[in-house]
């Protein structure tokens, strides 16, 4: 085969090829991160500037007291996530975390459907001292929490 590269240039070509591949990887990663990273929303943000439907996001807030209902199939629940200023209806099908209950904090992973209901694929509730979703740790001390407290 005639494609044997001039010996002198081999190292350079190798380095360039490797760099090209790595740059491609970095660009791909940057592009995918922009599209696929799921951002964290409070209910107020979800209402004022809703994310595109079907885009993966996280919604964090308090499960409003009296809003938790179980559908007849026994495994689908509906509830309202509130941060004191806004409310977002949400639905989830599955086994809920043990500490998921009315009046406590939750971070729901999922997407907003076109009719404005948040469809959760996964619920993160405060498990124990050692496992706190990052968003919720901030909420217990942060502004969102105070808002919720004030609204009670």
């Amino acid at each position: 085969m005639s494609s044997v590269i001039k010996p002198k240039h081999q190292r350079l070509v190798l380095v360039l090829a490797a760099i090209a591949a790595l740059i491609a990887a970095a660009l791909l990663a940057a592009w995918a991160l922009r599209n696929q990273a799921s951002y964290f929303y409070l209910p107020a943000e979800m209402v004022s500037k809703p994310p595109a439907a079907d885009r993966a996001v996280r919604l964090g807030g308090m499960v409003e007291a009296g809003s938790l209902k179980t559908a007849p199939d026994g495994v689908t629940i509906t509830f309202t996530v509130s941060d004191g200023t806004a409310k977002v209806p949400a639905t989830f099908t599955g086994i809920t975390p043990d500490l998921f209950k009315e009046g406590s904090g939750v971070v729901a992973e999922g997407h907003r459907s076109s009719d404005g209901v948040f469809v959760a694929d996964n619920l993160l509730a405060k498990h124990d001292e050692k496992y706190v979703p990052r968003e919720m740790r901030q909420m217990s001390t942060g502004e969102a929490h105070q808002k919720v407290e004030a609204a009670k």
Binding site: M1, A21, Q36, A37, R58, T70, G74, V75, I95, H127
Partner: protein, 644 residues
């Protein structure tokens, strides 16, 4: 006593560092003869310290703060002992113990390299160890005492009370720390400008060993997450999982480039660089897990200040190594050359792809941190990782099939073409058949490629008499075959899994895939440190006699926490996975059932890959040993002739 041993070991590490470096500067330095014994004694002392820690956990000596915080007298003995390394301080002690033992082994066994290189290697090893000694003694003393002595311990996180978990962290740590030896060899070789095939051959068993443990650790960890977390998934792209995946990717790349260096004396600077990167990934992994900067499903150890310490160590070690690399890389002369179509090229391609995947995983793992620094809260999950890594994994697997068939230096593609035709035809056939059944693109590609890989992986054995095939070749074939098996498992799981989530009455029957599952009863049961609700399920496959499954919803009382214990029924063609949820208001019970065809292939593949590593390691060690005996014999004969 343990603490005293630890201080002494730290002092010896300092001595080892200083004497090692001094003997580099001054020729015929008397200190040079001190280095090896120091390394060995240091290893023995740390081992004593670690045994002391195990002993206090064994006795549940609550006057030791660490025991009080992590153990409980009512815990089964296995978990008492495993508790010694199930926490931050203990795991760091385990880290330096393994590191010192590895250093001791190098000092004891390694005779092939020029003496200065060994000394520099041991000095580098001591430098890294010293950082961790400082960390243990200053920031996280495992032997700190409590006064007054508490009456009872706080217990171990119940999720960690599992036999698999007792061995999972040590396995990963051995892998991480094995890479520290590769790192030290790389630094040692740079310092003495001895980047040679001999250096690669000395480093290779360590890389192989570390890689085997990493492979096993990741496989076991994945299976643990699968059955213990009760989510039915086997890989979550969780930061802690990524923390173990990244060193594995780097080690895999290193493994392949080291073999190029050993047999062809090419890729010199690149191999050294990978040695540094692999250990950097180990340290980043430890940093991610131990600092808690990233919260995740299994971030059990969270302490920001300690994270800073590890980060500082990381910066010092890697910064120093990269500086040496930058200063010395120019003096590492160019290695042998090779053509575009050659085994070297295939291995270079493998390396570049692995590095790209490594970069993607690293970016995805750290991106939430970067974003948070800029004020946005972001989480990155499978929608990012799956497609972004697949772009590089698939071409890499293609080359993985072809590469081993190529010759070193230069080859013609025409020569290997006949061997590829059959697998390609099969692959096309499988792909067509699956496409007709309306499968998604990625699982389809996965199954088709997995099938083809199983066949191609065996091609290097073609035309050879199986008894004469060398162990390293068997190792490579087994490992590549294992990758194909795992790929098939992954693709089948994502393509054919069926899931049912229902609220069932007692006596009701639920269908999932080919299974009929009947909920018999739900009753309370108690264990040594938990109570649980246990469901009795009778599952029958396609009308066969039913077997029993007993998933539980467990409540631990020290510390108070709920976990769900899934129950799994394994058949040769897949697993039935059952989880018990809560009781609904009308007396129905939530049940989550999965039928996962061929999911077991994932871990079976992982074990095969590790087995391949073991075969290769045995082969290398055996041939080194034979060479050692042969040279010893020659030397002996010469000596006798000299006398006669």
């Amino acid at each position: 006593m343990g603490l005293a041993a630890l201080w002494l070991a730290a002092a010896l590490a300092a001595l080892q560092l200083i004497s090692g470096f001094l003997s580099l500067r001054v020729a015929d330095n008397p200190l040079a003869s001190v280095v090896r014994p120091t390394a060995i004694v240091q290893a023995a002392l740390v081992a004593v310290a670690f045994l002391c820690l195990i002993a206090v956990f064994w006795r549940t000596d609550l006057s030791v703060a660490l025991v009080a915080a992590n153990s409980h007298s009512a815990k089964p003995l296995l978990y008492k002992v495993a508790g010694a390394w199930g926490n931050h301080e203990g795991s760091m002690l385990l880290w330096v113990t393994i590191m010192a033992l590895a250093g001791g082994c190098v000092a004891l066994l390694e005779r092939r390299l020029p003496e200065p290189t060994i000394l520099a290697t041991l000095a580098a090893q001591a430098f890294v160890s010293l950082g961790f000694y400082a960390f243990l003694l200053i920031a996280s003393n495992p032997f700190a005492r409590l006064d007054p002595v508490p009456t009872e311990g706080q217990g171990l996180n119940p999720l960690l009370q599992d036999p698999g978990l007792a061995f999972h962290p040590p396995t990963l740590y051995i892998g991480y720390v094995g890479l520290s030896v590769a790192f030290s060899f790389a630094v040692g070789a740079l310092l003495t400008r001895e980047v040679s095939p001999a250096f690669a051959r000395a480093m290779r068993p360590w890389v192989l060993g570390a890689w085997i443990f990493l492979t096993l650790g990741i496989t076991a960890g994945s299976y643990w997450a699968y059955y213990e977390l009760g989510w039915g998934g086997w890989w979550f792209w969780d930061p802690v999982e990524n923390a173990s995946l990244m060193p594995w990717l780097a080690a895999t790349a290193l493994l392949h480039s080291v073999s190029v260096l050993a047999s062809r004396n090419a890729l010199r600077a690149w191999t050294v660089m990978l040695g540094v990167v692999a250990f950097a990934m180990s340290m980043i992994g430890t940093f991610l897990v131990r600092s808690g900067v990233l919260t995740s499903v299994h971030a059990f150890a969270v302490d920001p200040e300690r994270g800073t310490f590890i980060l500082a160590l990381l910066a010092i070690n890697i910064g120093a190594a990269l500086t040496i690399f930058a200063l010395r890389a120019g003096t590492v002369s160019e290695g042998e050359r090779f053509a575009v179509v050659s085994r070297e090229s295939a291995l270079v391609f493998n390396n570049v792809m692995l590095t790209a995947i490594l970069g993607i995983v690293l970016l995805g793992t750290l991106y939430p941190l970067l974003a948070e620094a800029l004020g946005a809260q972001v989480s990155v999950g499978p929608p990012y990782f799956n497609p972004a890594t697949a772009v590089f994994v698939l071409p890499m697997l293609v080359v993985m099939g072809v590469g081993p068939l190529l010759r070193w230096r230069r080859d013609l593609f025409v020569r290997v073409r006949p061997a590829l035709i059959l697998p390609l035809l099969v692959m096309a056939g499988v792909a067509l058949w699956l496409a007709l059944s309306g499968l998604h693109l990625l699982p389809l590609l996965g199954i088709a490629m997995g099938t083809a890989l199983l066949m191609i992986a065996l091609v290097p054995l073609r035309g050879r008499r199986l008894r004469t095939v060398t162990l390293p070749l068997w190792g490579m074939v087994t490992a590549h075959f294992g990758i194909g098996v795992a790929l098939l498992g992954i693709a089948c799981d994502s393509a054919f899994s069926t899931e049912r989530l229902v609220a069932a009455r007692i006596g009701e029957t639920v269908a999932v895939g080919p299974w009929l599952v009947r909920l018999g009863r739900v009753e309370p049961v108690t264990g040594p440190n938990w109570t649980a609700l246990e469901a009795t399920l009778a599952a029958s496959y396609a009308g066969a006699a039913p077997s029993q499954l007993k998933p539980q919803a467990r409540s631990f009382w020290t510390p108070p926490q709920q976990t769900s214990e899934s129950a799994i029924l394994t058949r040769w063609n897949g697993q039935l996975y059952t989880v018990l949820g809560e009781e609904a208001e009308d007396g129905r019970w939530q049940l989550r059932l999965w039928w996962k065809p061929f999911v077991t292939l994932i871990w079976f593949g992982g074990v095969l890959v590790a087995l391949g590593g073991v075969l290769a390691l045995l082969g290398r060690v055996a041939s080194d040993w034979r060479r050692h005996i042969a040279t010893a014999k020659i030397a002996y004969r010469r000596q006798r002739q000299g006398r006669g």
